[in-house]
Amino acid sequence: MSKLNRIIITALLIISLLSGTLSASALSIEQEQKLCDTGEYLKNNITPQVGSIGGEWVVIGLSRSGMFSEAQKQAYCDAVKAYAASKGTNRLHSRKSSDNSRVILALSAVGKDPGSIAGYDLTEPLADFDFVKTQGINGVIWALIALDSCNYYLQNDCRDQMLGELLSAQHIDGSWGLDENADPDVTGMALQALAPYRKYDTNIQNAVEKALLWLDSLSFDLLSPESCAQLIVAYTTLGIAPNTGLIDSMMRYSVPNGFAHTLNGEYNQMATEQAYYALAACRRFENGENALYDMSDVADYTVLDLDGDAQESINDATYIQRYLAEFEVSFTTPMKRTADLNKNGKVDIGDVTLYQQYLAR
């Protein structure tokens, strides 16, 4: 074989190896580039405030893709403090718990405790089921995601009620929506909220599976970029690689610096922020990192209080044992999630041992 032939063959081999690797990843080169470019744009052009655009979603997206500087994180925290102080109450909106939820998520993403911001505990309003429920299913979904993001411990937690509410709101076809109409957007978000609890409750597991079946019946072409984004985050949170067709569908809305809301539309801030964090979620999934909203890698505010005395003590380890022995103790789904210290999807004696070790640390 001539030298030239050998070179050619080697080159071809290398190329095919590379393309083999590339096709196995969730993001194509173009999509990865889009993630970088959009991140650069957001990082350099937005000073996040408290707000549904130009705010928390930018903080979350950039933080979870590692592009948010310490200075920027600090600036955002200062903005939240000022905002909370100006409100004069820990309810950032008198009727919408989602404002609190959104801010809690951003604070978790930057590693800041949402329980003491300018003297306010921003998580406390989420223990009021009536307050959360006023906003409807949206309120319930985001309260669940927010509290779970940093494993936030709340006395008088109503997560169990919220999970029940979410399950009963599921439509017969497996979808969710703001009313009786199916909405891919809301379905995606409901899945994100249920994901952390599905191993601890068969009803939740069944609900998730039903929703996934319904999603399989959707045609990606008909989805808005925001719906695509929510579904991408849902899949990655569930540990499922998103269908490349779904990501491609979202990429159709790509415009310079970000994304549009309609095909052939102009740059739209909301579409850009959602598509950006969806791409970030994909990259995290590829790299085996925590799900987008699982901030336990940067923030964990859990208090392992299982017996309800607001303390961590040997009594809690005993409480787990009594639960295992089915001795007058029942655990709600959120309690099971908290008690599953070894993260093997169930509460077992290994968790008791870990708890004892935890106390001895």
Binding site: Q49, V50, G51, S52, I53, G54, G55, E56, W57, Y83, S86, L92, H93, R95, K96, S98, D99, S101, R102, K133, T134, Q135, G136, I137, N138, G139, I141, W142, G177, L178, D179, D183, D185, V186, G188, M189, S224, E226, S227, A229, Q230, H261, Q269, M270, E273, Q274
Partner: protein
Amino acid sequence: MIKFLNKYKWVITGVILAAVLLVIAFISGGNVEEAKKQAEVTTAAATSDSADTTALTHNKIAEEATQNSTAPTEAASTVETTSLNATESLTATSAVHTAQTTTSAQSSAAVEKPTEKTSAPAAPVPVTKPQEQKPTEEKPTVSAKKRCTISISCATLLNNIDKLKLDDRELVPDDGWILKPTTVFINSNDTVFDVLKRVCKNKKIHMEYSNNPVYNSAYIEGIGNLYEFSAGSNSGWMYRVNGWFPNYGCSQYSLKDGDTIEWMYTCNLGYDIGGSNARGND
């Protein structure tokens, strides 16, 4: 002398008559001017507060930056003040609706008359015409002033009173009208929001709004102390103009002369008022 008068008595009578008619014409012409001035003053008062920044509610609206829930949900969710196609009768209230204009407190009634009438009697006397023309030519602004009709209804709550908290139920007027259709004068670049804000202020109707950058518009949180979510998670305020629900925020709708604005409370994302196609970012 008397002979002179006798000889030309008809001519003299004619001249005197003409003079009397002139005087009458002149005097009533002066009245038209005054009436118009009157109208201008009242309309100026009604529409003067465009520069006014006093908050309508206890909220510090200038600093208000509350947003509309979280972004993803906005893509599909919250009830916006925007809406779509109408016809939907306000059913029982439509009868009340038509009875309306008489009760409108605005100066419209006072104003309308002068624009129609400049003194007619002077018609047969050509000399008077230029003077007649003058009042209308000097004051073109009154007849060119834009008007619109605005109403605020929470009629959908009449059949859904149980969705409200006990304390809120007394907020619902018996006929569902928080503001019956009222004709107001508007400035040339007024938006639906401008008119709502002004009318609520003048009529001392509670109105609360926040600034929503997602829609680049004010977002109406509550009117008459009835808020978004007061009657469940799918309830809130929407508006339509000339029977059509615009699919964007009320600060973005610029009004034309004769437009009819209707603010309506929905209990289920607009379906009950025919506006289900305008739910914001869909």
